[in-house]
């Protein structure tokens, strides 16, 4: 039996394919719960979304395919996150989220074989204006 590849055809097939848009209405309660969950009492977060709020606007289709793709590497961690902001996300905005797996990189590290998967995400509002860009690195090991 041949060894299962770290980068399966299924995973390779996701590379550079745009998923979405998935559309989220930014409800007041959603922002309030997020601010409470991160424990940030800043009154600005009654109308504006806190900086890390875009993580709650999940590109579920791509992420689901990435985590369920067959792999001999069973463990998964968040390696890093980047956000760039073009305008604030406000309560009432309708945000369209598109996501693309932009890089797969296999490395040999102290935990054995490690696979870095980098996802680029774009967030646009209901007027089609760019509000934020994100880049998230997932680590399988």
């Amino acid at each position: 039996m041949s060894e299962e590849p770290v980068i399966s055809e299924e995973l390779q097939g996701l590379l550079n394919v745009e998923f979405g848009p998935e559309v989220y209405e930014v409800e007041k309660g959603m922002v309030k719960r997020f601010a409470e969950a991160i424990g940030d009492p800043n009154p600005l977060w009654r109308e504006l979304a806190p900086p890390t709020f875009p993580t709650a606007l999940v590109p579920t289709e791509l992420l689901h395919k990435m985590v369920t793709a067959r792999s001999p590497l069973k463990r998964l961690l968040n390696g890093g996150n980047e956000l760039e902001y073009f305008q604030p996300i406000r309560v009432g905005d309708v945000i369209s989220v598109t996501a693309r797996l932009e890089r797969l990189r296999k490395m040999e590290g102290k935990e054995g074989t490690t696979l870095f998967m980098v996802v680029a995400i774009t967030y646009k509002n209901e007027r089609g204006e760019l509000v934020a860009k994100g880049r998230n690195t997932f680590v399988r090991y």
Binding site: M30, R33, F34, E36, A37, I38, G39, D40, N42, L44, P50, P51, T52, T55, A56, V58, T60, R75, L76, L77, N78, G79, G80, N81, E82, L83, E84, Y85, P88, T137
Partner: protein, 145 residues
């Protein structure tokens, strides 16, 4: 929260007021619900241990949110966050304090905006850096205040 900070007030090396957080399992569950990240390593101890982790660990995004709070508290309502990024270097265990620190790495004017690049990091109680990151903030000027 302190008063508004202006571009002219700060210099390279200026330190931000530190922020200390103590995330509980309840906070991690609330964060899971609010963010949609239900990965069990963040609330199910048996699952976390079976995954080879030392226990339930704090979401990287939650630790980054604490660093974000430190920055937005500091920059005030007239500051604008331009970039925020964090790399996860170690684990924050639930029930342990997270110490958030930041300092000014650079101040510069670009496209008419007064920008400040911050270096920031989070530490566990043993002094290990668990998150390292940077942020870019646009600050108001006293000249146009």
């Amino acid at each position: 929260m302190a008063g508004q900070v202006y571009y002219e007030d700060i210099e390279t090396g200026s330190e931000l007021p530190a922020l200390v957080k103590l995330p509980t399992t309840m906070q991690l569950v609330k964060y899971a619900g609010a963010s949609g990240d239900y990965y069990q390593i963040h609330y199910d101890k048996d699952f976390a241990l079976a995954s080879g982790l030392p226990g339930v660990i704090v979401h990287g995004w939650l630790a980054l949110s604490f660093l974000g709070q430190m920055i937005t508290d500091w920059m005030g309502g007239k500051g604008a966050l331009v970039k925020l990024s964090g790399s996860y270097k170690g684990m924050n265990l639930v029930g342990e304090e997270i110490f958030c620190y930041g300092k000014v790495a650079k101040k510069y004017v670009e496209d008419g905006r007064r920008l400040v690049r911050l270096e920031m990091w989070a530490e566990n109680p043993r002094g290990g850096k668990t998150v390292t990151g940077t942020a870019v903030v646009a600050l108001p000027s006293r000249q146009s205040a």
